[in-house]
Amino acid sequence: MTLAGVLLVATMALPLLLAAALGKRAVRDRALDLLVLAPFPGLAAALLVPHGSAALSPMRIVLALDPLGAALLGTASLLWLLAGAYARAQMAGDARAVRFAFWWLLTQAGSLGCFLVADIASFYLTFSLASLAAYWLVVHEGTSRASRAGFVYMALAVLGEAVLLLAFVMMAVGGDGNPLIAEAAARLPGSPHQGVVVALLVVGFGLKMGLVPLHVWMPLAHPVAPVPASAALSGIIVKAGVIGLIRFLPLDTGYLAGGTALTAIGLFTAFYAAIVGITQAKPKTVLAYSTVSQMGFVATILGSGLAVGSTTAASVTAFYALHHLLAKGALFLGYGVVAAGGARVAVLAAMVIPALALAGLPFTGGALAKYAAKEVIDPGAAGTLATLAATGSTVLMLHFLRMLREQPDTGRVAPVGLLVPWAVATVASIAIPYAVMDLLTGMTPLAALTITALWKAAWPILLGVAISASLIAFAARLPAIPEGDIVVVADGVGVHANRFGTALERADTTLRSWPAGVTALLAVALAVALTLRLPA
């Protein structure tokens, strides 16, 4: 096997093997150390073999990297590493660390796998692994808030799995049992089911990305997890949905109706989440809504590309997602630093950068990401709205910083083990976009540094600052929208479901009584006999 093969396989295999090794008592004592070890093959693969591929024929798994996949794999591995180091410092001595490590490693194997598998069945496998294993990161704290979040998360995740399975099966129709994703996506425009398949893909992957109205689990789930897990969930796991749309949608050939719909959903999500987000009081919930809003923007890029058929949409989306991954990771870890050490000026000042980078603050990685996105988004109405989305992000992130400032001072300084991963993530969120922009999108970072580009990036933010300043006066009058907003509609369902279940049990008891059973037996015989006489 080539170096590429070894590294690609190890990217998924090492976390899985380490998870299995937790069965040994000696390993269990050092469970948290494994979190730091596990992401290295992924990092190495992204750096050393960005065009590598490997086929594990007996298990019909095909692994392949392209520059886009490698960039996301590399940054995701980096954040897994940083968040893992953070978890190692934060959770030292926690009795539940072993279980946390186990699900962490499984989630990691799945999420990194999503970036490098090339065939449909393996993609479904890695996507499901990431989705389902992450459940235990959500419910880790064991509080009632966590278990409610976990229930909503799991219900929607499993629904998403079902929707995607149908989409994948419909895409595989006409090929052999398990075609490569690229082949199936290329065949899609000729399929009579294109509309249905694209809709199913948007629902299935949109659930993972948190597109409104499928976002309800995210503001519940991301805040209740431990800080490093929140960073991974909000930074990395949502990108499984992004890479899914990138890989499966026929972006090159284009599909006007699907693209327009996706753009509309994306823009609506971007604004809706920003507006609901500023009514939230908990910093982590605000960050979760920010992720929803940002993924709305990602959907806008993808939709714009899909509508007209764009060869650059995939890589620009990946570039935008890459920046969000690092910035959101830095923000969640930074929240943890503040929670552990109080709202110190230096920390808060440093948090301003990744926070406003999400709005495209000039000179940050976010400015590059927004600049690249403008190359894909149609400059008309969608473009204007997309520009204004930066204003929404500014208001939302300033709200986040304000909530952060109100965190109580613990009087201690956050331990180095928390500070270092956070600081590295913050630096990476600026440096890496500069380093990979040209490679990924073919655009030079210098283009985003011209006076025109800087002004285009700055004015929506200045507008956001102005709105934010005027909102402070009204802050007390803003309505308090519960976390997960429209999810409260579902709360009433529980009672009805229970009543339905009781009725079902009663009916089953009746069915299982002798008179009903014998009647059913004869009725089945007659029904089959009669239908057999019917003409076909």
Partner: protein, 487 residues
Amino acid sequence: MNDTAGLLVVLSVMVPAIAVMAMLARPSRAPDQIAALAWPAVTVVTVTLAWTVIGNGAPVTYAVGGWRPPLGLLLRADGLAVVTMVMVSVILGLVGLAARADPAATSGTGGQRRSLVFWAMLLALWSALNLCVLARDLFTLFVALELLTFAAVPLVALDARVETLRAALRYLLIALAGSGLYLLGVGLVYARHATLDLGLLKTVVSGDDGLAIGLMTAGLMAKTAVFPLHLWLPPAHAGAPAPASAVLSALVVKAPFLLLARIWFELGFNTVTPATHLLAGFGAASILWCSLMALRQARLKLMIAYSTVAQIGYLFLMFPLAPGDDWWAQLGWSGGLLQLTSHAFAKAAMFLAAGLVAEGLGHDRIDGLAGASRAAPLSVFTLAFAGLSLMGLPPSGGFNAKAMMLASAVGLGEWWIAVTILAGGLLAAGYVFRVIGRAIAYPDPSVQVTPIARNRELVPFALALFALALGFVPLGQFSVLAIGVAP
């Protein structure tokens, strides 16, 4: 006209029967040792037979007494038969290992009697199961089904408690009523066509035999326990000792289904008709109704039993999918039979693991499962891995099976079947996660658990790994199943 390969066909039915007689002749001798001797013998026979059939690409037949139909009886090992027989060998072998490691399952009060009944009935089942897939005429098949019932009922009542006796009686009565209907149907067929051989009937049956087919179908459905005829299964499968439940749920309910499938597909009802949709409707109702019931169960074994009825429902979805020779139909047929096999391994694993968990905790209430991962950690993994197959998540045989059936349903435009398959997966995820989530939770410090010996956990785990390994079969039609199907 009967060659040595034909002899293997007979041996696969006779050797377990001889072992049963040996046990009954010398009840004082340890019956598990006789079973341990019989297992390799029968397994060698079935594997050699499978090897021959698959190698030649042609079925092996044996005419009893050298007389061919219409005068004589025919036993015939086709692709479906040998695949099933190998599966039965593997599962019975592993369940037998688990039972030997579990003294409580076959001893205790009246230990010797229990032990004798368990092993004798296990081998009698084996003989009956092999005969069910080999026999080619409707009356021999009736005998095989009766043998199966009379071997299965005592397994339910092994504990001899009031509720298990009641469950066993209920099972017996329903199975006999099913047999009655089946026999009535056989009588009608014989009256019209003067033959019971499946090969000969193929050319003469028609829609006019609707009543006969309807009676036989209802009888077999009662024995398979598909909705709304599932009344006997939950108490019977939940009340039996774990190794017995494993065999009952994994294998015994599959035999009448295979016979039903043979009757429908081999007797030329291989077009999509309202009747095939009716059968699929029963399957869909099974999936939805009994998955919801599984979600509502308070006890682990009852939950698993309801899940069996739900998973059997998937098999009935084959009836409108598999008729015909096109690619989608073949995919539906292969997917359905893969579902049968994967469920057999997964469910055997689950019942055995649930037995160990219940032993470790002293109860099997789902609400009180916290601590299971301390008492029997590997068994919790077994439940989770087997659960993957029930949910239809990769990598597992259940995923491949459901993906293939889903593809077939989409390819044939049977959208309601596609939606049912997906909804069944969702509900299965619900009842599996409910158990796993509780089982891995940290227990109250007051909870006392009895640790289970690790080696006893290995057998169920191996069964679950089989179910996972089936996830690596190709996602296409299996040529082996076509052996002997073509006229």
